[in-house]
């Protein structure tokens, strides 16, 4: 049973009772619970009052709350709430108090359409936009009908799409998650990849994507090429999962426009792309001295762009002084970090930064956690995993030729190095 009600609130902005047999005033208990938790510095995405369970997510300063009294599928509820955010963003650009008020009629219409009696229905915003629009309609003159797509097996792409020039743009984006202990050993290193599509194709094209997937190459007996071992792959619902399970073929009818076709994850033992060594010395009541060495550990033909290294400093530090061998430093008191920016960081290079802060003679009593150094960067034309798009075959019954374009980029994900 997924039976529940949805509220979007700050104080309740808009709500929808999908079951009809619940007291909508129960939600009045929600905000006080949130406030109490905030006071106790607690947090839980699932709270209870009496027999009502509230599952909530927060978007900007809005709470999206689902209320149920049954043993609902919690994973479905959260997943649905995030989907709602996505739909609203597609419709109104941003989901915030103002956009809800400005469009409350459409919001009601959408809430009626995306869920019925607690069962999520159509949540694909592109398809929704075909029959829930922001203009009023007259029934006799072209009131919309539910597109067949809504209930079709191919529920993500409508028929009759036409483009003069047929193209597909692919972005292969790899994010590196890294966790390094204070002693400098790599605790976790993970690559989360994502293949994004921008599809500009007419009709109902059949696509087949070929990757240098290790399992596929083993099946087909081509073992000499450089391959990638994908640990776990997740696909957009357009991909035929049983087919992939059987022979690792990625075949699909793509949604029109932009979408994420697949994501994958692999644990690797590759060298961290940007290595940081740091010494943070705190002399109580007087000063903090920070020395940071950054080294790029990728081939020199690649270059990392927009590198930002965030080094934590005590919250009561003052009078910053910096010295860098390259790039520039900025003290961000609101985040209690010093941010070292390097516009362009070629492979195989090493740079230094020193920072000096004063500390007040009266020490703050508040304990501070030992925050890690975090790093942001992006390296274009490069994937850490070595994944390659070998081909993208596009077949449409009208027989047009279409060009696929592929772009590779590697970027920092959750890139943390613990400090002493």
């Amino acid at each position: 049973p997924q039976a529940f009600q949805i509220f979007i609130l700050h104080k309740v902005l808009i709500s929808r009772n999908y079951m009809g047999n619940m007291d909508m005033n129960e939600v009045d208990h929600f905000m006080p619970i949130m406030m109490r938790m905030e006071e106790d510095a607690e947090s839980l995405p699932l709270v209870t009052h009496g027999s009502a369970h509230f599952l909530w997510i927060k978007h900007r300063n809005l709470y999206l709350v689902a209320m149920t009294k049954k043993n609902a599928n919690a994973a479905l509820v959260y997943s649905f709430l995030y989907k709602m955010v996505e739909v609203f963003k597609e419709y109104f650009k941003e989901l915030e108090e103002e956009s809800i008020r400005d469009n409350f009629v459409t919001v009601y219409e959408l809430m009626d359409e995306v869920m019925d009696f607690g069962f999520p229905q159509t949540t694909d915003s592109k398809i929704l936009q075909e029959y829930i629009t922001q203009q009023g309609h007259k029934l006799d003159v072209g009131a919309p009908r539910p597109p067949a797509t809504v209930t079709n097996a191919v529920s993500w792409r409508s028929e009759g799409i036409k483009y003069r020039k047929n193209e597909v743009f692919m972005d292969v984006i790899e994010s590196v998650n890294l966790l390094v202990s204070a002693t400098g050993s790599v605790l976790r290193s993970e690559i989360v990849g994502s293949i994004k599509l921008k599809v500009v194709l007419s009709g109902m094209p059949e696509l087949r994507l070929g990757l240098n997937d290790k399992v596929l190459f083993e099946i087909t007996g081509r073992e000499k090429c450089k391959t990638v071992e994908l640990e776990d792959v997740k696909f957009h619902q357009c991909v035929r999962l049983s087919r992939f399970e059987n022979d690792r073929t990625i075949s699909f009818i793509p949604p029109d426009g932009e979408s994420e076709l697949m994501s994958y994850r692999l644990n690797t033992t590759v060298k961290p792309l940007i290595w940081i060594e740091s010494v943070i010395e705190k002399f109580s009541h007087s000063r903090v001295e920070i020395k940071v060495k950054a080294r790029s550990q990728f081939k020199s033909r690649s270059t990392a762009n927009n590198v930002a290294i965030m080094v934590p400093v005590p919250s009561d530090a003052d009078s910053p002084k910096f010295k860098t061998s390259t790039g520039s430093c900025k003290y961000l008191p609101e985040k209690s970090v010093v941010q070292w920016n390097i516009k362009s960081f070629p492979g195989g290079k090493e740079y230094m930064m020193r920072a000096h802060f004063g500390l007040p003679s009266v020490e703050s009593t508040e304990l501070e956690g030992r925050r890690p150094i975090t790093v942001n960067f992006e390296i274009p034309y490069f994937t850490v995993s070595g994944i390659q798009v070998r081909y993208l075959k596009i077949i449409e019954k009208s027989g047009y030729e279409a060009l696929p374009w592929v772009r590779y980029i590697t970027q920092s994900g959750d890139y943390q190095l613990r400090t002493n």
Partner: protein, 864 residues
């Protein structure tokens, strides 16, 4: 211009103004007014007074306006039921609209209006919409059946909507199928015993096919529905698993978790030595790990579920320790859950890394997290013996930090380490004692006092330390008081000479000055012990303690099984069964995993019956007719108390055939309830737990009416008597002999099968009296073929005594006549399945042999 302007209306005379606008001739003005009404409703103002005016706007050609009016109706129809009826006509008309969007909108909205009068009118339009040509309408109508069922279940059944809904499972459109499945599952939830979903290999196949074609949400409905099915055997189980596995690659975390649920459940039936079992285990790990990259709330749900999975099948994630390492920016609820899983996965292989992490966490600033980290270090010490020493030294380092709550937490866990490894780490006691003063939490104080008492002989100033606590005895919590009492008694037994005064003091504090009954009782017991028999006191108080177990906080196995069946739901997040937090769900069947196919490599129990009847000895070979003979209780005198006949207990399952478990038993009918009375004896060397029982299908649909209540583990040489109430609503299959019952009993060791026969008299129901006229008519109706005769020999009862005796077993004498010195008793019996059996009993005075003629109108039953 945006909609926000509708929220700003003048306060005074607002309703009045709106009323006028709603009745305006201008369409545009009307629409504006309805928008204002909805805006007021949205901000919580009561605009129900406008009901008739808004309903008047319902017949409009403007779609947007129509939707708004419908929205208004859903909100206020309940408070204005009489006026809501005005809307019915438009609803019915809209259900016939050429535009499917309107038809669906009407049927969707009508289902949300919980007014009986409207509900009645819903039936016809709903019936049409369920057969609508447009799948968009059908998928909406399918959900509407569930809505209607929630309002008026009887109506739905009477109107035959359930059958139509079942038909929709074979619909050509995947979304219709998905919604039909969702609706049926929802309805089935409130009828746990109905066979609504009628899951069988054919329908399962349909669902698996639809799984490939429907939306992500539809896939979840179907997977959740599949999880309720119990495959017939391991082969079916495997083939379903194979078709569900591809869902693990779905981008939606909820689809993945529902697929994991199905796999975790069906895996239970796969033999462990099967290659596929290993493959499946390997396939489960990567998607579970990937869930940790989802949004934090989904991570939380995933982690709570992984916690269950790790307890049920630790092998799946045993190599994935690192992914549970805590990140600085994880929300606190994610951190705490990760920590919990880290401890569960800790093993000798990864302990060094785990400890390094825990030490790092213990120096964080979040108090809850730090405490849990310190506790985790203690648990590692207990779990992985090789690491104990390192854990203790880590804890000592942490105590040196002097952070108050860290110190207290550390002392609590060190106490447990002492209990696990006695006489090994006592050298640290001195360090602990240094921190005595800083302990202000009861648990830490109690732990410290326990340590001092336990090791009193090695602590020179133990008496001083304990005495210092005694000063504020009455301000301490009960936990500390009890511990202090015991510790001082221990101290006295170890160093009697110098502590006599102290022990006197604590005993009098506990017995005379306290009003806590537990404390007083414990005090008196010690006092008597010490004054009557100090040697016995020593044996009792200083007795060797059992070692504490390695795994703490494990979820009790039956609950764990139930929670595995609820993966992804609130129950799995709370780690509580749904009955604990959903109102009105008490008494609903608890979900259970299918009994394991891997136990002894035999096929699952449910399926095993069909395959393996040969192993079941027919232990009772008496003919069924004998059952009646038994009723006369040939040996027993007339003086026996009246009551239903209960055969003596016989051994059904000898211990040598069941790895030491002996089962004997009998059947009885007590106060109208059939009971299976079992005696379980453990003749093995080890403890038996986790008992469960199942019956094969049988002639009268006998089935356990509840679980087998063996709550405490059964120790070696222990015997337990259990009464299992039976119902007669289970699946029916004709057995030979008819009263044969095949039973499977499971325990932690294996599954065992036996068969036994129950006395038919147990099925005789209490309302078996028949009108004389009816009896006569029925007796004549019985075809000759359905009559049988047999003799009962050597019975010394007169007719009245016999009649009384039989009535005790629900055999009722309807008439009696005497012909030529023969007493003829005419009797009626009604069986639990509604079949009547009529009997004529001829008895001749002085002749101990009786003749019984039996007859029943239904074929096939005459051999009673």
């Amino acid at each position: 211009m945006t909609d926000s302007k509708y929220f700003t209306t003048t306060k005074k005379g607002e309703i009045f103004e709106l009323k006028a606008e709603l009745n305006s001739d201008k369409k545009e003005k009307k629409k504006e007014a309805v928008k204002k009404v909805i805006a007021s409703m949205t901000v919580g103002k009561d605009v129900s007074a406008l009901f008739p005016d808004v309903v008047n706007c319902m017949q409009t050609d403007n779609l947007e306006l129509k939707k708004l009016v419908y929205l208004y109706l859903m909100n206020y129809a309940k408070s204005q039921p009489d006026m809501a009826i005005m809307a019915v006509n438009t609803f019915v008309k809209d259900c016939e609209d050429p535009n499917p969007l309107i038809r669906a909108l009407a049927v969707r909205t009508m289902g949300c209006i919980r007014v009986d009068k409207i509900t009645e009118y819903l039936c016809e339009p709903l019936r049409k919409c369920l057969k609508d040509e447009d799948p968009y309408v059908r998928k909406t109508a399918a959900v509407c059946v569930a809505k209607l069922h929630d309002i008026n279940a009887q109506l739905v059944e009477d109107q035959g909507f359930l059958d139509t809904l079942k038909d929709l499972i074979s619909d050509s459109n995947p979304m219709v199928v998905a919604n039909a499945v969702a609706a049926l599952s929802e309805i089935a939830e409130s009828h746990p015993n109905s066979n609504l979903l009628d899951l069988n290999p054919q329908s399962i196949n349909k669902l698996l096919t639809a799984l490939n074609e429907c939306t992500e949400w539809g896939q979840i409905f179907i997977l959740d529905c599949l999880a309720n099915y119990t495959p017939r055997d391991d082969r079916e189980s495997q083939s379903i698993c194979e078709r569900v596995t591809p869902r693990l690659s779905h981008a939606n975390s909820a689809v993945v978790l529902s697929a994991v649920k199905v796999l975790m459940k069906f895996m239970e039936m796969l033999p462990k030595d099967l290659d596929y079992y290993g493959t499946l285990l390997k396939k489960l790990a990567p998607p579970l790990v990937t869930l940790l990259s989802a949004e934090p709330e989904l991570q939380y749900v995933a982690l709570r579920n992984i916690n269950l999975i790790v307890q049920k099948r630790p092998e799946i994630l045993k190599h994935e320790m690192k992914v549970f390492f805590v990140k600085y920016n994880d929300p606190i609820y994610v951190k705490l859950e990760k920590l919990d899983i880290m401890i569960r996965l800790a093993s000798q292989a990864n302990i060094a890394q785990v400890l390094a992490e825990l030490k790092e966490y213990a120096t964080e600033v979040d108090v809850d997290f730090v405490r849990k980290a310190v506790r985790a270090i203690g648990r590692c010490a207990i779990k992985v013996e090789q690491s104990a020493e390192r854990c203790v030294s880590t804890l000592l380092d942490l105590i040196q930090t002097k952070v108050n709550y860290v110190v207290q937490e550390a002392i609590v866990v060190i106490k447990d380490i002492f209990r696990k490894y006695p006489n090994k780490y006592e050298s640290v006691i001195a360090t602990l004692c240094e921190n005595l003063d800083s302990l202000d939490e009861p648990e830490a104080r109690a732990a410290m006092i326990w340590i001092v008492g336990e090791y009193a002989e090695r602590i020179d100033n133990a008496d001083e330390l304990l005495e210092s606590f005694l000063e504020g005895f009455h301000d301490e919590s009960t936990q500390v008081q009890l511990q202090l009492l015991t510790a001082i008694v221990k101290l006295f037994l170890k160093k009697p000479t110098e502590t006599q005064e102290l022990v006197q003091q604590v005993l009098s504090l506990a017995t005379q000055d306290s009003d806590n009954p537990d404390l007083r009782d414990r005090g008196y017991i010690y006092w008597r012990l010490l004054s009557t028999d100090p040697v016995a006191a020593k044996e009792v108080v200083l007795a060797e303690k059992p070692l504490i177990s390695e795994e703490t906080d494990l979820i009790e196995p039956t609950l764990l099984e139930e929670l595995i069946c609820h993966i992804g739901t609130l129950a799995s997040v709370y780690h509580k069964p749904p009955s604990a937090f959903v109102e009105g769900s008490r008494g609903v069947m608890h979900k259970r995993l299918p009994l394991g196919g891997d136990i002894g490599g035999s096929p699952a129990m449910g399926a095993g019956f069909g395959a393996a009847p040969a192993v079941m000895p027919a232990s009772l070979n008496a003919p069924v007719g004998g059952g009646l003979g038994d009723l006369f209780d040939l040996g027993g005198g007339v003086g026996m108390p009246m009551g239903a006949y209960i055969p003596p207990k016989t051994v059904w399952l000898p211990a040598m055939k069941a790895k030491g478990l002996e089962i004997s038993g009998t059947f009885a009918r007590r106060a109208g309830v059939i009971q299976m009375e079992l005696v379980l004896t453990n003749k093995a060397m080890s403890v038996m737990t986790d008992f469960a029982i199942q019956f094969n299908r049988n002639s009268f649909g006998l089935a356990p009416a509840g679980p087998l209540q063996v709550l405490t583990p059964l120790g070696p040489n222990q015997t337990i008597e259990v009464s299992l109430p039976l119902s007669t609503v289970g699946p029916v299959m004709k057995m030979d002999p008819l009263n044969n019952l095949q039973v499977a009993v499971k325990n932690n060791i294996d599954v065992f099968y036996f068969s036994c026969q129950y006395p038919i008299s147990m099925l005789f129901v209490e309302d078996g009296k028949m009108e004389r006229q009816v009896f006569l008519a029925t007796w004549k109706d019985i075809p000759n073929d359905n009559e049988s005769q047999f003799q009962i020999q050597d019975c010394h009862l007169n007719s009245d005594a016999a009649s009384n005796k039989l009535q005790g077993s629900n055999i009722f004498t309807i008439a009696k006549r005497t012909v030529e010195g023969q007493d003829m008793l005419y009797m009626a019996i009604k069986l639990s399945n509604g079949i009547w059996v009529l009997a004529e009993l001829k008895m001749q005075a002085g002749n101990p042999n009786y003749t019984v003629s039996l007859g029943t109108r239904r074929d096939g039953e005459q051999h009673y």
